[in-house]
Structure formats: structure tokens, C-alpha cells
């Protein structure tokens, strides 16, 4: 998909939903204030998806896929919610969550790289396994110790979530774009055999990518729990689809070998604006449509995924920067 299409699509979407929700502005200052608050909310809300989408872009670049991201984030959130609240939370739950998340990511990596299980099957299995562990940890309970942890809620606000996303996308993405690591991931996604012949440690690179997804999953769990305040075993079901749709819409090829982090950023925002817009336009939908507008989101997600892949295939060429 052409890169300029994504910001254009985002702007059109925002204009459409703003007009449907009946929002009107009497001055430029009013509009500015509205959109400042709108984008700040949007960023906080979509921070977990943005962080996971960064990792998923790398995974798709290697011709892999990770269906377990939703269950992984849910499990990390469930485990850290089981620690007692208070200042000690930072020294107990947070390192434990980080270790667990990296272990979960590395498990996926070992299955795919060392045991040679196809990524979709490996992560499908771990998706069930991790979700099962969520129920083992939580049962039917819903826990919310996060609000009693000093400073924790900052991670769900613009300052904390914004900094995390900025560090990951600007610093991490900037380094990644110039790195040899990126070229190696693209090469192994494009042609694994050629990558092996070129002396790239294919197994190690795959293990690194999936472990990185685990690390990003940990950050996503922090943002999610800080914003949401509570967690249960069935939390974040279906998150993986949202992440994959956003990444594909951003121009990353599911067959591997091409991907763009800036495209992913816009892909996530497009999905988030759609989600928020459909919720905001619910009242309009109730009077103008014979069905609930929220149900349309499922249809749109599916249609956007097919459209994104079809456009990427039609483009034929990598939509990111050419491999150096």
C-alpha cells in the first residue's frame, strides 16, 4: 500500500467520525483543544496495541506470526495483579512480570526456532496454553491492585504511555531502521535458505524477535493495567486480530521480507480511531441504522485485513524502505 494513503485515510476517518458524532467547533482554539484531548486519549488507549504492533511487525518481517500476544499480555497482567499492592509492587511484581513476559516470548521462539514448529501452530498452541494459565492464576476473580500502587497510574496516562511509545517507536524504531539486525530479519523473512547460506544465525534471530515481543508484551501489560485498573482471566481476548490487522494495514507483508514501522504506527491509529469513532457514533447508529453500530466493527476489521493484504500484494514491492 502506498505510504501517503495511510495518513490520508486516518484524516478522512477522523473527519467522518467527528461529523457523525455531531461535534461542532465555534473557534479554532476550541477545535485545537478538542483534538489535543482526543489524540491524547487515543494514544493512551492504543498504547498496548502500538507496543505489540511494533513487535508483530518484526515477527511478520521474518515470515512468522504471533497469535499468542493477547493471551501473553493477559497472563502477565494476571500474574502481576496477584502481587500485593503498595510501594513494594515495583520491586516484586514488575520484575516478575518482565521475567515472565520474556520467558513466554522466548518459549514461542524456542518452539519456532529450535523445534521448527510452524509459527502459526506454535503460537496457536501457546495462545490456548497461556490463556489456560490465566484461568489457573485468576479463576473467576477480577483483581485491581494497580490503583493502590504509587505512581502506577502514570503508565496509563499521556505522560507515561506517550513516553513508552515514543521510546519504543522513535529510539527503538530509529535504531532498528539503521541496524544490520533489520536487514537480517528482512532477509530471513524473504528467503530463509538464502539467509542461512549468507551466514545469518537464523535460529538466534527468530528467538530474539519472539523474546522482544515478550518484552513489548510486558510493557503493553503495564499500560493496559494502569489504564484499565483491573484484570480478569478473559481480558484482552481477540487482541491479536486487532494487532495483526493494524500491522498488515500499515504495509507489512504477511509473507515476510518487507515491513514498515511508520506504516504500523498509522495502521494502529486507524484501527483505534475506528474503534473510538464507532463507540462515539453509537447514538447516531441507534436512530439511523437497523443494527448496533458496534457490531459493524467486526465486519470492518475483517474487511480491512483482506483489503490491506490485497493492496500489499498488488503493490508487489516492499512498502517500507528498500532493503539495504
Amino acid at each position: 500500500m502506498r505510504r501517503w494513503l495511510l495518513p490520508l485515510l486516518l484524516l478522512l476517518e477522523i473527519a467522518l467520525f467527528t461529523s457523525i458524532s455531531g461535534q461542532s467547533f465555534h473557534s479554532f482554539g476550541e477545535a485545537l483543544s478538542y483534538f489535543r484531548s482526543y489524540f491524547s486519549d487515543l494514544l493512551c488507549q492504543s498504547a498496548p496495541v502500538l507496543l505489540l504492533a511494533f513487535g508483530m511487525t518484526l515477527v511478520l518481517m521474518t515470515a512468522g506470526i504471533d497469535l499468542s500476544v493477547g493471551s501473553m499480555v493477559a497472563l502477565v497482567a494476571c500474574v502481576i495483579s496477584s502481587f500485593p499492592a503498595g510501594p513494594g509492587f515495583w520491586w516484586t511484581a514488575v520484575p516478575a512480570g518482565l521475567g515472565l513476559a520474556m520467558l513466554l516470548g522466548a518459549t514461542n521462539g524456542v518452539l519456532i526456532a529450535r523445534l521448527d514448529v510452524p509459527p502459526i501452530i506454535a503460537t496457536l498452541g501457546t495462545m490456548i496454553f497461556y490463556r489456560g494459565l490465566c484461568f489457573v492464576v485468576m479463576g473467576d476473580l477480577e483483581k485491581s491492585p494497580f490503583l493502590d500502587v504509587p505512581g502506577y497510574e502514570t503508565l496509563g496516562q499521556f505522560v507515561g504511555a506517550g513516553v513508552l511509545v515514543a521510546v519504543v517507536f522513535l529510539l527503538g524504531g530509529g535504531w532498528f531502521d539503521c541496524s544490520r539486525w533489520r536487514r537480517e530479519l528482512l532477509m530471513l523473512g524473504g528467503n530463509r535458505v538464502a539467509a542461512r547460506y549468507a551466514g545469518i544465525p537464523v535460529d538466534r534471530r527468530i528467538l530474539e524477535v519472539y523474546t522482544l515481543v515478550g518484552l513489548l508484551g510486558f510493557l503493553a501489560a503495564l499500560c493496559f493495567t494502569a489504564r484499565n485498573g483491573s484484570v480478569s482471566a478473559s481480558t484482552l481476548t481477540g487482541l491479536e486480530l486487532q494487532v495483526i490487522v493494524a500491522v498488515v494495514l500499515g504495509g507489512t507483508r504477511v509473507q515476510g521480507g518487507a515491513g514498515s514501522l511508520s506504516g504500523t504506527f498509522f495502521g494502529v491509529l486507524i484501527i483505534a480511531v475506528m474503534d473510538e469513532g464507532l463507540r462515539g457514533a453509537a447514538r447516531w447508529g441507534d436512530t439511523h441504522l437497523p443494527f448496533k453500530l458496534s457490531h459493524l466493527e467486526y465486519v470492518l476489521l475483517g474487511a480491512l485485513l483482506v483489503l490491506g493484504v490485497w493492496l500489499n500484494n498488488r503493490a508487489g514491492q516492499p512498502t517500507g524502505r528498500p532493503t539495504r
Binding site: L124, R131, L296, L301, N313
Partner: protein
């Protein structure tokens, strides 16, 4: 898919599953508690396992042809919603059953058509279908039933015959038919050929697109039966929550049954044994008093362990083939 001799791998897997099922039955017989009987366990087995086995038969052919259908649960939801709407409008049972099965068949065939026409990987089309069809089901229910409350009630016993009284017989007939057809017919061998090498298939004068479509068409027939049995077993049809995670159970059974996720190898018998293995495992866990919260995690662990072990055993050969 087993015309002629079974491959050593498939033979090994079938024997493993056969022995595993016998061992699990013995374990159930030992742990079955007072008030229940082993005969009842066996009698309940047919109806309980029928939807997974029938959907597994559908998926086996599709995977053997090198594709996959992740949207089977959502297709069942659409079929169930159509069934529920017709029951709500007081149609007689037979047309309702026919509409349910035909809807599932039609959507499966539609998936095949989309994969064929758009030239988009089946995993993406059907991943999109997973969300899209559930949205379609919800919209259908909203439009067809005024003030739809999220659930369609099917109280009359006459509408439950295929799922309750006839499920075992439908399963037996479909399984025997599938095994005989698999052994003698030419189409399943063409699926294997396509799954093994599309290029070789084309050079042999076969039309890969037509073969792929036939896999989705035949799969649709079995999926229609699965939808019929699944939908008529339940009292309340809830499009938003029904059959969540069903596709994972089915894919787990198919993969456990020895079907190669990349296509080119598989058998209906393996799928049936794989589904039985997972069912008996869950039954044994129930009788052994294992908490239901642990059951999902254990099921996921079993799938990962069996597939991981299998892939690890074949890794050396695959690497040599890859570098040859």
C-alpha cells in the same frame, strides 16, 4: 488422503493416538466415580465429540490442499443465527436444518472463492472471516429480530433432533463415508498433490485453483453437518459468545491427527482419533477431579508437546531438505 500405503509418519501417529485413546479410556474406567458408569461415558462420547470431528473432517481436506480455514467457528455462528432466526419465525424443523447446513456450506465455498480470486493467503482471508462472519451474524440477528437481546431461544425439542438423538449416527455415517471416499476417490489425492507442490500440480496438467475450490466445497459439506449438530445441541444461540475458541479445538485435533499444517499429508482417520484423544483427555481430567481452570492449560500443553516433539524429530530431515 491415504490412498495406497500410509506414510511411516502417519502410521506412527495413528498408532500413537490409538494407543493413547485406549490408555485414556482405561484411565477413565479406573477413575469414573460412583453414580456414573463407563457405559455412559462411551454413550455420551458420540454426540459430544461429533461437532469437533465433523469440523475436523472439513479442515483436514482444506489443510491437506495447502490452505487453512480459521473462520469455521464464525461460520457456525452465522449458520446458527440463520437457524435461530428461522426458528423464531416458526419455520418447520426441516427447512431450518437445511438452511443451517447450507449457510455453512455456502460460506466455506465463498472462502474458497475469495482465496482463489484475490490470491491472498487462506490464513489471512479466514482470519478476517473469523471477525467478519461473527459481525455479520450479529447484524443479521439485529436486523431480523426486533429488540434482539443477544440470545435466540430454541425451546422446542423437535429442533434438537440432529444434535441430540441423531448426532452419533450423523458422525458415524459422515466418518465412514469420508474414509471410503478418501480411500477410493481421486479428489483427495489431488488435494495432497496441491498441498505438496502447486507447481508440480500445474505441470501435471491439473488446475490448482479448481482443486483448492473443491477442498473448500467438500469441507463446506462437513462443516454444514458440524454446524447442524453443534447448533441443535444448544438451547440458546448467542452470536457474540457462541463457539468461541472452537476453531482452536478443531485445529488442535487435526494437527494432533498427523495432518501436515503446510499441506500434502493427512488423513481423516487421524483427525477423528486426534479429536477423540483431546475429548478423552478432558473427560479423564474431569473424572480425576482436576480443576476446570487447569484443563485449558493442560490441553494447550498437550498440543504444544505433541507437535513440538513431532517437529523436533523431523527437524534434521527438514534442514537437510532445505539446504539440499
Amino acid at each position: 488422503m491415504t490412498h495406497g500405503r500410509l506414510s511411516p509418519f502417519l502410521r506412527q501417529r495413528l498408532l500413537f493416538l490409538l494407543a493413547g485413546n485406549v490408555a485414556l479410556l482405561a484411565a477413565i474406567a479406573v477413575t469414573v466415580k460412583q453414580g456414573g458408569s463407563f457405559g455412559e461415558v462411551l454413550a455420551r462420547c458420540g454426540p459430544n465429540v461429533a461437532p469437533v470431528v465433523l469440523a475436523g473432517l472439513s479442515l483436514t481436506g482444506i489443510i491437506c490442499a495447502g490452505a487453512i480455514d480459521l473462520s469455521i467457528a464464525s461460520i457456525i455462528v452465522v449458520a446458527g443465527t440463520v437457524f435461530g432466526i428461522l426458528v423464531h419465525r416458526q419455520w418447520p424443523p426441516l427447512p431450518c436444518f437445511a438452511a443451517c447446513a447450507l449457510t455453512a456450506w455456502g460460506l466455506s465455498a465463498w472462502n474458497g472463492f475469495l482465496v482463489r480470486r484475490l490470491n491472498v493467503p487462506a490464513i489471512i482471508i479466514t482470519l478476517a472471516g473469523l471477525a467478519l462472519y461473527r459481525g455479520v451474524a450479529l447484524i443479521l440477528a439485529d436486523v431480523a429480530i426486533p429488540n434482539f437481546g443477544g440470545s435466540l431461544d430454541v425451546p422446542q425439542e423437535a429442533y434438537h433432533a440432529p444434535g441430540k438423538q441423531l448426532a452419533g449416527w450423523i458422525l458415524l455415517a459422515a466418518l465412514v463415508g469420508a474414509l471410503v471416499w478418501e480411500w477410493f476417490a481421486r479428489t483427495p489425492r489431488r488435494w495432497l498433490a496441491l498441498g505438496s507442490s502447486e507447481e508440480a500440480c500445474r505441470l501435471a496438467g491439473l488446475d490448482p485453483r479448481a482443486i483448492l475450490q473443491s477442498a473448500f466445497n467438500v469441507g463446506g459439506f462437513f462443516l454444514g453437518l458440524a454446524a447442524l449438530v453443534y447448533v441443535t445441541q444448544i438451547q440458546f444461540i448467542e452470536p457474540a459468545r457462541m463457539a468461541l475458541g472452537f476453531e482452536l479445538q478443531v485445529i488442535g485435533a487435526v494437527i494432533l491427527g498427523g495432518t501436515n499444517i503446510f499441506g500434502g499429508e493427512g488423513s481423516y482417520a487421524g483427525t477423528a482419533l486426534g479429536a477423540l484423544f483431546l475429548y478423552f483427555t478432558s473427560q479423564w481430567m474431569t473424572y480425576a477431579g482436576i480443576s476446570p481452570y487447569f484443563q485449558e492449560a493442560i490441553t494447550g500443553a498437550i498440543i504444544i508437546a505433541v507437535i513440538g516433539l513431532d517437529c523436533a524429530l523431523h527437524r534434521r530431515r527438514k534442514l537437510l531438505e532445505e539446504l539440499a
